[in-house]
């Protein structure tokens, strides 16, 4: 019987593959955090390549879509909205808002700015659903929901209250990060950009949380067949 114990390469380790995957994710998160600052066109040195930036964008979009299910309270297995429909719908909304941001503040849409907008949206989504969960018996969240709910109604009110709280938290975090970590001057343009980034993210999160699954499906149909055809479906 031949002895195979010596002279052959060891079998590939499953763990090293998993380790690589984890490092890949950590690196994308690092890129997103690096890019998340205000003002969005602050002169900083990019420590990532263009390819890294592109993959970080893709990673952020996947994360946003996954979080969209959490924000909506849909289960991925049983949700009416499919992953593709949500991704498409969100991409349309985000492109629209980013273009509006670029025109309003007269800034060129750079890689870093898009990543910054994605990161803001991710953080507002995380805070939104964590706040909603904590509102079970949390007097502050219940009070915010009831007070806003009295004006805006039982469905819109709580969603608006949670979005506003999440936007305020992310806005404060962004200012602290820009000031303490990126050593930016936090006034004037930086404040305006921070407001636009976080409020824009808030609009996306509120839209995602309230729209019915059918709207996302219709949006995809519209992307496939622009014009009157989609409005009659």
């Amino acid at each position: 019987m031949p002895d195979n114990s010596a002279g052959e390469p060891p079998p590939p380790l499953e763990n090293s593959k998993l380790e690589n995957e984890i490092w890949w994710v950590v690196r994308r998160v690092e890129i997103l955090l690096q890019s998340w600052t205000t003002p969005v066109n602050a002169p900083t040195v990019n420590t990532f390549t263009r390819d890294d930036g592109v993959s970080a964008r893709a990673f952020a979009l996947i994360l946003i879509v996954a979080l969209a299910f959490a924000v909506r309270g849909d289960r991925q297995a049983t949700a009416g909205a499919t992953f593709t429909a949500l991704a498409g719908g969100l991409a349309v909304i985000m492109s629209f808002l980013l273009n509006m941001f670029g025109r309003t503040f007269r800034v060129t849409l750079s890689e870093r700015m898009i990543l910054s907008a994605y990161m803001s949206t991710i953080l507002v989504m995380i805070f939104f659903f964590l706040l909603e969960i904590s509102s079970r018996g949390n007097w502050l969240a219940v009070f915010a929901q009831e007070t806003v709910g009295e004006v805006l109604g039982k469905e819109l009110g709580p969603a608006v209250a949670m979005t506003v709280l999440a936007v305020i938290l992310v806005f404060l975090l962004l200012l602290m990060k820009a000031w303490l970590w990126d050593k930016q001057t936090v006034k004037g343009k930086a404040l305006k950009h921070a407001v636009a980034l976080t409020v824009g993210s808030g609009v996306i999160v509120l839209t995602v949380s309230l729209l019915s699954s059918q709207v996302f499906q219709t949006a995809i149909e519209c992307l496939k067949e622009p014009g009157w055809a989609c409005s009659t479906k």
Binding site: G73, R75, Q76, E132, G137, V142, E146, E150, E155, L211
Partner: protein, 281 residues
């Protein structure tokens, strides 16, 4: 002097309003009812209208049932979750939708100052029950177990939900695990806290964790599920009493009643509620 007169007038007005809200059937029959027992009222004007619940009921007709609570503790106000489970002839493929009805709740509390708030009735009368809003079983279970709902049924569930109410000693949250669990049909003592809810809602559990608990096959025998939220305001030296309509449907009806505050006080909120089976002919 004027101030104390005004306060007295308000107290008298509130008390008389509460008395006026007491169920007409309860007023008529309460003295003849045993605590913790379910009765049927066949009419409202004679003593012999009250019959034990073991009697069968007629198909396609509306019937009135009454329940009297225990007298052990001086809890003043309570919600009562009445689960009407209509047994079908053949089993369903998935649990049927849950229809939602609510009696008017006069002791809700709301806002910073926990001021009094009235939750209006929703499809509470017998003739309205067939038109009650329905939500999917999964969304109903998720709402009371985890505290959130998918957009498709969120509006109906939030309309139905009584978020806070005065139980007589404090303004309490219906969302608390010991109260929310009593709205569930199964695994009533499994209302998770913040971290388990976040884990599930984030979708990570679905992606990497063990399979989520599914509704049991027992639920498939019901062709219709209806949750009727009744309530009572206890008066001095009197037990709580409430009545609710039941439609004659299916082959039989299982009626489970959870007296929310009584169960919280007795710490029996995790166990199965008392239930009765009524056949339909």
């Amino acid at each position: 002097m004027k101030r104390s007169l005004l306060v007295t007038a308000i107290v008298v007005a509130i008390s008389s309003s509460a008395m006026a809200q007491t169920d007409a059937y309860c007023r008529r029959f309460e003295s003849r009812m045993q605590p913790g027992q379910l009765y049927q009222a066949r009419c409202a004007d004679r003593d012999d209208c009250l019959v034990p619940v073991s009697a069968a009921i007629k198909k396609d007709e509306n019937h009135r049932f009454l329940y009297r609570t225990g007298t052990s503790q001086p809890v003043q106000n309570s919600l009562a979750v009445v689960q009407l489970k209509y047994v079908g002839i053949s089993p369903q493929i998935k649990p049927s939708n849950v229809a939602l009805s609510r009696q008017q709740v006069n002791f809700g509390c709301y806002g910073w100052r926990k001021r009094a708030y009235v939750y209006p009735a929703i499809s509470a009368e017998a003739e309205e029950m067939g038109r009650a809003a329905e939500v999917s079983y999964d969304n109903y279970d998720q709402f009371y177990r985890y505290g959130y709902s998918a957009p498709s049924d969120r509006s109906a569930l939030q309309d139905f939900h009584v978020r806070r109410y005065h139980n007589g000693s404090a303004c309490v949250y219906t969302d608390s695990p010991e109260r929310a669990g009593q709205f569930l049909f199964e695994r009533r003592n499994d209302v998770p806290g913040f971290f388990r809810t976040a884990w599930r809602r984030s979708g990570i559990q679905e992606a990497v964790g063990p399979a989520l608990a599914q509704p049991s096959n027992d639920l498939l025998k019901y062709q219709r599920l209806h949750v009727y939220l009744a309530n009572y305001q206890k008066r001095p030296d009197a037990a709580g009493c409430f009545s609710f309509p039941v439609q004659g449907r299916g082959s039989s009806i299982e009626i489970a009643i959870s007296d929310v505050e009584e169960n919280v006080r007795a710490r029996t909120y995790g166990s199965s509620p008392p239930s009765w089976t009524v056949s339909v002919y």
